[in-house]
Amino acid sequence: MLTAVIALTALALIFGLLLGFAAVRFKVEGDPLAEKIDALLPQTQCGQCGFPGCRPYAEAMARGEADINRCPPGGETTIIALADLLGREPIPLDAEVGEEKPKMVAIIDEATCIGCTLCIQACPVDAILGAAKQMHTIIEAECTGCELCLEPCPVDCIDMIQIPEKVLHWKWPYPQPPTETRPG
C-alpha cells in the first residue's frame, strides 16, 4: 500500500517536473493559430471586418470572438480557406460588412491634389508618395485597394479604378455546371 502511494507520488512528481520544464523550455511566442489565420487573409488592411487591420481580425478569430465570414476583399476563397483551417463549415459572406468586389486600385487626380498629406497618413501600406504642398501619387503595385484614403481627402481627388484585365493574368471562367436533374 505504502509503496504504491510512494511510487505514484514519485511518478507524479517526475512527470509534473517534466511537464513544467517543457512548458518553460518550449514556450511558443505569440499565437500560432492567429499567425496561420493571418497568412490566409488578403492583407488589404481595410478594416471592413470591424477590426483595425487583418492581424487584429485574425487574433479575434483565433480567440473565437469573430466569425470567418467578415472579410469582403478575401471573399469566398478566403472563407473556404478559413473554414478548412478551423474545421468549420463555409458560410456565405456577412452582408453587413460589404460584398465581394473586383480588385480595385486607387488613383489620384494629380491636377486636383492640393498636397495635404491626409491620404498619406491614412494609407496602411505606405503606398502613397508625396510631401506637404507637393502633388501626391499612388504606387500602384503597392496599393491594396482598401479605400481608406478616399474619406480623408478634402478635395475628393482620389478614385478607385478596376485593375484592367491583362492576357497574362487572365483566368478561365468557372464552367457553368448543368442544373442537376435526376430522372424520376
Binding site: 487573409l41 492583407q43 505606405d126 503606398a127 492576357v167 493574368h169 448543368p178
Partner: protein, 550 residues
C-alpha cells in the same frame, strides 16, 4: 524499321479528317494590306517595341527586342510603314487585347539586307548558333511557342537523342505533313544545325503512319545521313505530346514537372527545324509559317504559307471563303484549340491551324452529371485521375487538385472526348490552373502588403517613442532650470556681457577708414580732388533744371 517502340498510357483514335487539307500543295498567301503583329507570341516575357509610329520598316527588320532570358524578338513580316502600336485583339482564349505593331504593307515585300555568317554551320560554335536562332525570333512552332534557343542549350548535359516531332496527331492539321513532303531537304539542313548546337547523339524523326508520303520523302532525304533515322509510329492521339513521344521512342519517362533534357532528350517540331534552316543558312528571321485552313465550313481547305500578322479572315477568303452556317472558328486543332472571338485577329507564330466548323445538324448533347464510369482515367495519357480532378476543381478545392497532380495535365482533351456525360473536363482543369496561379500572385501581394503594414506600424511606434523621449528630455531640462534659478542667473549675465563686448569690438573694427584712401600719392590725391569737383559741378547743374521743372 526494326526499331523497338514503347507505348504511352491511354490515348484515343478520333476521326482524322486530314484528307480535307492535304490534297493541295502549300500555296503562298497573298499579302494583306495591313499586318497586325502581336508582341507576345511565345512563352515568356513580352519583347519591347523598338520602332515608332511612322517608321518605314523592311521585311525581317526587328520590331520588338527580347526582354530577359525567356523571351523572343518579333520581326516585320513584310516591308511597309508602322501605322500604330496599340492594343488589338490577339489569338487567345480570353478574347482580350494586347499590344501589337500594326504595319501598312507597301506591296514590295522588300527584305532587309541580310548579314549572313559566311562560315559553314559546323564552323560556328554552338553558343553563337543559339544567339543566331534567338535573334531570329524562333519559337516552338508545334503550338506551345517556347523559345527554341533555350531548348538547344544542353547546359552541360549529354543529349543522347534529338527527336524531331513530325507526328501531327491532332485531327484536321496537315501543315507539318505538307512541309515534310515539299521541303524535306530544308528540314534536314535545320536538323543538322540543331544537332550541332546540341552536340546530340542520334536523331529520330517521328512521323505517324497515317502520313506515308511524308515518311517516304523524309527517308529519301536522310538516305546518306548516318545517325539520323525516320521512325514511323502508330497513329494515336496525343502521340505528338512531348512526354508521350519521348516515352514511345525511348521508353524513358520524363519526371513530373521536369524537362526532357534532364533525361538526355530534346524534342523539337519539324517546322522549327525548317525555320532554323531559314535563319542560319539564309539569315531570314521567323516572319512566316505554314498554316492549315480547314474544316467543313471552308470551301477549299488547304495549307498556306502566311506572313505572321495576317488577319485570319484574309486567309479564309483565299480558301474560297466559308460555306454554310459557321458554328465557330477554332485556332489550333479540334482537341486543344480555342474558339476565335473576332475574325480581325491575326495569325501568330504558334497558330498551326484555322478550323471552321459548320453548325451541326443535331445540337450538341447537354452536359450531364458524372456517372463515375472511369472512362476518362482509361484514356488519360499522363495517368492522372481526371474524375478526382474534376470533383475537386468543381468544388474549388485547389490544394486537393494539386495533390492529384493537376499541373501534369497536358490539356489534351482525351477525357472530355470520351466522357459519356459530355462534361467539359479540360475546361475545369484550365479554370483550376489559372485560379491557382492567380491565388499565388495574390498571396505574394498579400505578403508584401503585410510586410509594409507591419513596417508602417513599427515606424509609427518608433516615431512615437522618439517623440516621447525628446519631450521627456526637454521636460527634464526645464525642470532642472526651474529648480536652480540663482545659480544660472550670474552665468547668464556673464554670457550677455561677453556677447556685448564681442559685438562692440566688432563694431569698432569696422569703423576703421577704408584702406584705399590712406597713404595716397600726390598724383592720386589730385585725381580724386578733380573728380570730386566734377561731381559737385554736375550735381549743381542737375539741380537747376529739376528746380525749374518743379
Amino acid at each position: 524499321m526494326s526499331r523497338q517502340l514503347w507505348s504511352f498510357h491511354g490515348g484515343i483514335h478520333p476521326p482524322q479528317y486530314k484528307e480535307l487539307s492535304n490534297q493541295r500543295p502549300i500555296a503562298q498567301s497573298s499579302l494583306a494590306a495591313e499586318l497586325v503583329i502581336p508582341l507576345h507570341q511565345h512563352i515568356g516575357q513580352s519583347p519591347e517595341p523598338i520602332v515608332q509610329v511612322g517608321d518605314y520598316v523592311l521585311k525581317g527588320q526587328e520590331l520588338a527586342h527580347a526582354q530577359g532570358y525567356v523571351s523572343a524578338p518579333v520581326h516585320a513580316s513584310s516591308s511597309g510603314t508602322v501605322v500604330a502600336i496599340e492594343e488589338r485583339a490577339i489569338p487567345h482564349p480570353s478574347g482580350l487585347n494586347a499590344l501589337c505593331v500594326v504595319l501598312a504593307t507597301d506591296g514590295e515585300d522588300r527584305w532587309l539586307e541580310q548579314q549572313l555568317d559566311e562560315r559553314h554551320y559546323t564552323a560556328i560554335e554552338p553558343s553563337h548558333l543559339r544567339n543566331l536562332i534567338r535573334s531570329a525570333g524562333i519559337v516552338g512552332l508545334g503550338g506551345a511557342g517556347f523559345p527554341t534557343f533555350i531548348k538547344l542549350n544542353p547546359t552541360g548535359r549529354v543529349i543522347d537523342t534529338l527527336i524531331l516531332n513530325g507526328v501531327e496527331c491532332e485531327p484536321y492539321i496537315t501543315c507539318d505533313d505538307l512541309l515534310m513532303r515539299e521541303r524535306s531537304t530544308e528540314i534536314l539542313a535545320g536538323i543538322k544545325i540543331m544537332r550541332h548546337a546540341l552536340q546530340a547523339g542520334e536523331v529520330l524523326i517521328a512521323i505517324e503512319d497515317n502520313k506515308p508520303e511524308a515518311i517516304a520523302i523524309m527517308q529519301q532525304a536522310i538516305a546518306n545521313e548516318p545517325g539520323i533515322e525516320v521512325v514511323s509510329v502508330p497513329t494515336r492521339y496525343p502521340q505528338g505530346g512531348e512526354k508521350q513521344l519521348i516515352k514511345v521512342l525511348t521508353g524513358k519517362e520524363c519526371p513530373s514537372s521536369g524537362l526532357p533534357f534532364q533525361i538526355g532528350v530534346v524534342l523539337n517540331n519539324v517546322a522549327t527545324a525548317y525555320a532554323i534552316h531559314r535563319a542560319v543558312n539564309h539569315g531570314q528571321p521567323l516572319v512566316s509559317r505554314i498554316v492549315t485552313i480547314t474544316g467543313d465550313g471552308i470551301k477549299e481547305p488547304r495549307n498556306l504559307e502566311v506572313p505572321i500578322g495576317t488577319p485570319i479572315q484574309h486567309l479564309i477568303d483565299q480558301c474560297g471563303g466559308t460555306s454554310g452556317e459557321i458554328e465557330r472558328i477554332i485556332i489550333g486543332g479540334p482537341m486543344m484549340g480555342f474558339a476565335m472571338h473576332s475574325s480581325a485577329i491575326p495569325l501568330i507564330k504558334t497558330s498551326n491551324c484555322i478550323l471552321a466548323t459548320r453548325q451541326p445538324e443535331q445540337p450538341a448533347a447537354p452536359e450531364m452529371p458524372c456517372i463515375r464510369c472511369g472512362a476518362c482515367a482509361e484514356v488519360c495519357p499522363v495517368e492522372l485521375l481526371p474524375q478526382q480532378l474534376y470533383w475537386h476543381a468543381r468544388a474549388k478545392e485547389f490544394d486537393k487538385t494539386q495533390e492529384y497532380d493537376l499541373f501534369d495535365c497536358i490539356e489534351c482533351g482525351c477525357c472530355s472526348y470520351v466522357c459519356p456525360s459530355n462534361i467539359p473536363l479540360v475546361h475545369y482543369y484550365r479554370f483550376a490552373k489559372t485560379e491557382i496561379w492567380s491565388q499565388e500572385r495574390e498571396k505574394e501581394k498579400a505578403d508584401q502588403a503585410r510586410k509594409r503594414h507591419e513596417f508602417r506600424l513599427s515606424r509609427i511606434e518608433r516615431e512615437q517613442a522618439e517623440k516621447e523621449a525628446r519631450l521627456a528630455l526637454k521636460r527634464a531640462a526645464v525642470q532642472e532650470k526651474s529648480e536652480t534659478p540663482d545659480k544660472g542667473e550670474a552665468e547668464k549675465q556673464a554670457l550677455i556681457q561677453a556677447a556685448l563686448a564681442r559685438a562692440q569690438a566688432k563694431k569698432e573694427s569696422q569703423q576703421e577708414p577704408p584702406k584705399n584712401t590712406a597713404e595716397l600719392t600726390p598724383a592720386q590725391q589730385r585725381i580724386i580732388d578733380e573728380a570730386d569737383a566734377r561731381r559737385q559741378r554736375l550735381d549743381a547743374a542737375a539741380d537747376t533744371p529739376r528746380k525749374e521743372a518743379e
